[in-house]
């Protein structure tokens, strides 16, 4: 089986599992909705720069929660089964794609819910869409890989938080700058540099993740 | 081994204490072209390396005790 086929097969498996269980996605959505509601109840009127910060913080915590279990939910036996069956590279690529799709959905729904209760300060929609897309991709790559490391350690949920927050900060800061620019809070004529930076960080992280993942898979 | 590091540590305290006592005066660090900022930085580096040495020393002592127990 070629890697592409394996990726497609694994992706299908993830989607089917998600569809059957539903609790993961619905749990995260409930989390997002309740956070948005609390933010609305606490602030009522949200300034654009606070909107920006709160939005990305909600997305950050939702993503960590959504991805933290991506390697622990498959039981050990099922993991052993995959180990004999498929290429580890296919496993990580499939998980990253699946998580990116999941995060894309979550961030879009968060955006919808948040602009419903707190207003929509976005002025340049295309820039914000790029930020959302590159953000979900970057979060997905970093968190998926970190969760595969954390799955090997004792009390993996704490380890997940400790290891993933410092790793994600460069992506997060660039994203906040990019979306601030799309809301015209700040003006930067060379905003393309930030987009290239994000693409470069995503590229570096995905390359390193794909190269290193087989070593985590070796048990 | 341990005694010597303790001695060094106290030497350090004696050296640093007059500095910190005078630094209540905000102009102290700004006197003579802010040279005392450089002194403070060098002291910080020196103290940091010293604390690290003490930490290593304790690690080695632990290992020595372990080896003695094994014998």
């Amino acid at each position: 089986m070629s890697i592409l086929k394996e990726v497609r097969f694994l992706l299908q498996k993830e989607l089917v599992l998600e569809w059957r269980q539903k609790y993961a996605l619905s749990g995260i959505l409930l989390y997002v909705l309740s956070t948005v509601y609390i933010v609305y109840a606490a602030t009522q009127q949200v300034q654009p720069h606070i909107w920006n910060a709160l939005f990305w913080i909600i997305i950050l915590f939702a993503s960590v929660n959504a991805i933290a279990k991506s390697f622990t939910q498959d039981g050990e036996k099922r993991q052993l089964y995959f180990y004999t069956l498929v290429n580890p590279m296919a496993v990580i690529i499939a998980k990253i794609i699946y998580n990116a799709l999941l995060l894309g959905l979550i961030s879009f729904l968060t955006f919808a819910a948040f602009s419903l209760v707190a207003g929509n300060p976005v002025k340049i929609a295309s820039q914000f869409a790029i930020a959302l897309f590159l953000g979900s991709l970057g979060f997905s790559i970093a968190f998926t890989f970190i969760s595969s490391i954390a799955a090997q350690a004792k009390n993996s949920s704490t380890m997940m938080a400790i290891m993933s927050f410092p790793v994600i900060i460069p992506v997060l800061l660039t994203l906040i700058k990019l979306s601030a620019n799309s809301m015209r809070i700040m003006q930067d004529t060379a905003i393309w540099k930030d987009i290239y930076t994000l693409i470069a960080i995503d590229g570096i992280l995905i390359a390193v993740a794909i190269i290193l993942f087989p070593f985590l898979w070796r048990d | 081994m341990k005694k010597s590091t303790l001695l060094l540590f106290f030497l350090q305290l004696i050296l640093v204490f007059p500095l910190s006592a005078q630094s209540d005066n905000p102009d102290f660090f700004r006197s003579i072209g802010k040279i005392y900022v450089v002194v403070a930085v060098i002291m910080a580096v020196f103290l940091g390396i010293l604390l690290f040495l003490i930490y290593l020393d304790r690690k080695v002592t632990k290992l020595e005790n372990q080896i003695k127990e094994n014998e």
């Binding site: 490391i149 090997q152 380890m159 900060i169 985590l216 | 072209g33 802010k34 450089v38 060098i42 580096v45």
Partner: protein
Amino acid sequence: MRKFWWKYLGAAILVYVILAGMLIPLKPGVLEISPSTAQAAQTMTFTVEGYNTNYDKASSSIRAWLRSDDDHGLTASEITVVDYNTLNVTFNIPKWLPYESKVKYFSLILDNEIDGASVLPSAVSLTQEVPNLARAKALWPQGNIKDLHTNEVISFPYRNILYETIRNLYFHVSLWLAMMILFIVSVFYSIKYLRTFNKDFDDKALALTSSGLMFGILGLITGSIWAKHTWGTYWTWQEIKLNMTAVAMLIYAAYFILRSSMEDSERKSRISSVYNIFAFAALIPLLYVIPRLTSSLHPGNGGNPTFGSEDLDNTMRMVFYPAVIGFTLLGLWISTLIYRIEKIKDKLYDRV
């Protein structure tokens, strides 16, 4: 002895760095001028305070100018020496300034045969009633500031606000570079471990990470001491490089927590090597890409993350590069100590 030559070399270099870094004097400069404002069409005597200067010995050759941005100069009419670092300089300020605007800053240029030329940028603000550019140009001749002396004594550059703390370049900035070198070597050993699964390489990576982390923490402490006395705060959110390095410290602290959260020795080495490489890949954008995006107080931002030629002159290079090498060798020395402790532990607990 022959085997450990580099340790003694490192110590010798550090001794040289401390001696040279502390003993070489700053170039003479101008500390202050008072008053700092004056009116046009006024004869004004300013008191100028110098730093490291020899005004009393060079009293016959002292010259002074007020200079505009486009090189219009006004020569001082009278200069009296009070003592070695104090001058009274009198200017006959003309009725018109070489500008269209009413208020403008002028820099002060002093020159004498012993100290060479020194500049105080934006020293005096002058106010004029009615601008008249054509007549002002005759009174403020262009290019009359010439035949400046140069100071031949070996010295470090004089910068306002920084003053003597420019020496911290050797004791603070070199720590950062040594830290990065230690982390790079540590990543190199982690890669080597993943290729060979030889425990020695993981022990080496661990040892280098610990000493790198120590340098990082020292860098943060010394950086905030320096920042307090030049920028006014211990910690600034403007200074992205400072914050980014704090994040790097978090990454490597997580590395140690990760190690302690696993029992099995082989798995511990393998997983932590993987995390070391991944964290370093995340560290590269942290330290070099992000500071380019935001305004920062560190020199060389906005396209060029290193010291420009203006900030690092040849005399400073003669001390700065040895400082980096010296601190790196010291870090490697400390790392070998930790490595040897780890090896003894491996033997003691029968880890392979």
